[in-house]
């Protein structure tokens, strides 16, 4: 585990390699686990659509120990008051089918079963779900934009993005306004299909969002996501990936920027349980201001059956001011020796004074130098967004964040 307050730290996290079927010793420094658990605890532990199957978390649980439960407005323990869900609007190019369906729709829950209480709460409580379907072989060339706007109330949501075989889809999830919101998003990526998702969390101050994404990736399918979390008091996202068949290729990118008092948490889980799939994870975060807080958990599990897996995950955090704290916990568990590659890296450091000096020594004023460095830090991830207008908007937002404190 790398946690850093004011001072820099670098860690390579943990890599556990063991024989298939052997009991795992997965506690101790670097594992992010306080007690010994079976390797696939996340799956054999509670998985249910019913919130009542989960115990109310109290903060000592491994999955909740970083999260400020007292700021979740009851989303985790049922004491919330539901007033109304955010509005959801979808812009879709021709050929894409957009539906609003009830709780009884047969397509619900196909990507995976909730494995945390708030995800189950959202599943138990949503009223209408949005289903976006790309028929097989459709390649519209234009993105689908799903706008979720909060109007101050507490609510729950459900979205399914179903990409038929050999279809090519780009979907932007754009979250804004003020809300207390928990939701589940299911991505079904058919055989040979390509899905790129950009999920922007840019809520107004005073918002709480607990989001759960599950991608189910078909044979030779490609799933790429870019998660950008900027606004909201507490945002906790839990993106998961499961593979249906060999040949899947997954890239998960993320950018987050926490200001004073914000808690931004990303918990990723890539579950390699079929052979010859590839996954890449790269998340970068910047923090500034008193009690700015970020948490990044990167769990990658390579099961015994997942021979030929190729995986790498990376997390970098940049502490721009005193008083901010970044936790970074990469976990890589490998149950087979027959892999193509597996690795991870995590580093959390302060803004580099030598970089600042170098740029200033070329006449560049300090605030502009800082902007240049932060822009550069995020550029590699932001460049993954193939939509120029959105990319520019996000860069401007990041620079506005930076202006606020410098």
């Amino acid at each position: 585990m790398a946690s850093a307050t004011n001072s820099g730290s670098t860690t390579a996290g943990s890599i556990a390699v063991r024989e298939a079927g052997a009991p795992g010793e997965l506690a101790g420094p670097g594992t992010g686990r306080m007690v010994s658990q079976p390797a696939d605890a996340r799956q054999v532990a509670t998985a249910s659509y019913d919130v009542n199957d989960f115990a109310v978390p109290h903060g000592r649980e491994e999955d909740w120990r970083f999260t400020p439960l007292e700021r979740l407005r009851g989303l985790h323990d049922g004491t919330f008051t539901t007033v109304g869900s955010p509005t959801v609007e979808v812009d879709a190019p021709a050929g894409v089918v957009v539906e609003t369906v009830g709780r009884d729709d047969a397509r619900l829950g196909k990507a995976g079963t909730p494995v945390d209480r708030v995800a189950a709460q959202a599943y138990s409580s949503f009223e209408k779900a949005t289903v976006v379907t790309f028929p097989k072989e459709l390649a519209p060339g234009e993105p689908v934009v799903v706008r979720t706007r909060g109007e101050g109330a507490t609510g729950f949501g459900h979205l399914i993005v179903d990409v038929g075989r050999f279809a090519e889809a780009v979907v932007v999830l754009d979250h804004g306004g003020k809300a207390t919101y928990a939701d589940n998003v299911e991505f079904l990526v058919g055989d040979g299909a390509k899905l790129t998702v950009v999920s922007v969390q840019d809520w107004d101050a005073g918002s709480v969002h607990l989001g759960h994404h599950v991608a189910r990736v078909g044979r030779d399918a490609t799933f790429k996501s870019v998660t950008v979390t900027l606004g909201g008091d507490v945002v906790r996202l839990f993106p998961r990936v499961v593979f249906d068949a060999p040949g899947g290729d997954v890239e998960l990118y993320g950018v987050y920027f926490a200001d004073a008092g914000q808690h931004l948490e990303h918990r990723l889980f890539v579950d390699h349980d079929v052979p010859r799939c590839r996954s890449r994870v790269a998340y970068k975060g910047a923090l500034q201001g008193a009690d700015a807080r970020t948490v990044w958990i990167g769990d990658v599990l390579i099961r015994a059956a997942a021979e030929g897996t190729d995986t790498y995950e990376l997390n970098r955090n940049l502490l721009l001011t005193e008083g901010a704290r970044a936790d970074s916990v990469p976990n890589l568990e490998i149950e087979t020796g027959e892999i193509a590659g597996a690795g991870h890296a995590s580093a959390t450091g302060r803004f580099d004074d030598e970089q600042l000096f170098y740029l200033q020594a070329r006449g560049i004023p300090a605030d502009e130098a800082r902007r240049l460095v932060v822009r550069g830090f995020f550029a590699e991830v932001i460049a993954q967004i193939d939509l120029p207008e959105l990319r520019e908007r996000l860069m401007e937002r990041i620079e506005a964040e930076l202006e606020a404190s410098v």
């Binding site: 170098y358 300090a366 502009e368 130098a369």
Partner: protein, 254 residues
């Protein structure tokens, strides 16, 4: 005519057991058109002099003055000093991830010149300067100093020197880590800038090797945090044959 004047400069760094004085009264005047070589053994404080002139926050000036054309350099921020016409070519230029050389150069030129250079002219200017330093055009698209070889880093420093056209340039161990070819290319770059007659150069080096390419007007021996002897180019020849022992009591070649 631009003049850098250093008077009785005292500089300390924070060490484990309190501040440690590195510079102990440096006096030096560098005028536009002149080239001064500062030669000294390791640990004599010559790099501290370079970084103190540029304003690195690690160094605390405890006494003396530095002025550029009468303006108090020590009261300026690092970037103000650069905009006033001071340039430091660094021994160990730092990487700036995600920032391309072309973006960096243009941002720096805009800051130093006070307005953005006209794009067409600028592209031509950069290309020509890079050609002269035998730098491949693809270089401009790489991230600043990221994965650069020692020679590429130094060429990149001299490229900035050519583009930013300072009044006074401090070259800190620009010769270190260079093979003969790279040393020649880098030296030619420095000489092109010197030949304009519009720049004062302070060349900081341990070894005399670079002085065969860049001819100094004055040579100063630096030891124990101050200049202990000054002379013409012949002083470098003396150091070449005798080393620094006469100044430090320790056998060390120059």
């Amino acid at each position: 005519m631009a003049t850098l004047e250093i008077r009785d400069l005292h500089v300390s760094v924070e060490a484990e057991n309190g501040p440690r004085e590195i510079l102990r009264g440096v006096d030096l005047t560098v005028k536009q058109g002149e080239t001064h070589a500062i030669m000294g053994p390791n640990g004599s404080g010559k790099s501290t002099l370079a970084y103190s002139i540029a304003g690195h926050p690690k160094y605390t000036v405890t006494g003396g003055s530095v002025t550029l054309d009468g303006e108090d350099v020590l009261s300026m921020t690092v970037d103000e000093r650069a905009r006033a016409g001071l340039f430091l070519a660094m021994q160990y230029p730092v990487e700036v991830a995600g920032v391309s050389v072309s973006n960096f150069l243009r941002t720096a030129a805009t800051a130093v010149r006070g307005e953005a250079p006209k794009l067409r002219l600028w592209v031509k200017e950069v290309k020509e300067a890079m050609d002269r330093l035998q730098m491949d055009p693809s270089f401009a698209e790489r991230n600043v100093n990221e994965g650069f070889s020692g020679g590429e880093k130094k060429r990149h420093e001299i490229l900035q020197l050519e583009l930013l056209k300072p009044k006074i340039a401090v070259l800190d161990e620009t010769d270190s880590g260079l093979d003969v070819d790279a040393l020649r290319i880098v030296s030619e770059g420095v000489n092109r800038v010197r030949d304009t007659g519009e720049i004062g150069t302070l060349l900081i080096t341990h070894y005399t090797r670079i002085l065969r390419y860049i001819k100094p007007d004055y040579v100063h021996v630096f030891a124990g945090g101050r200049i202990v002897e000054s002379g013409g180019p012949e002083l470098a020849d003396k150091l070449e044959s005798e080393g620094y022992e006469a100044y430090t009591g320790v056998k060390e070649s120059a």
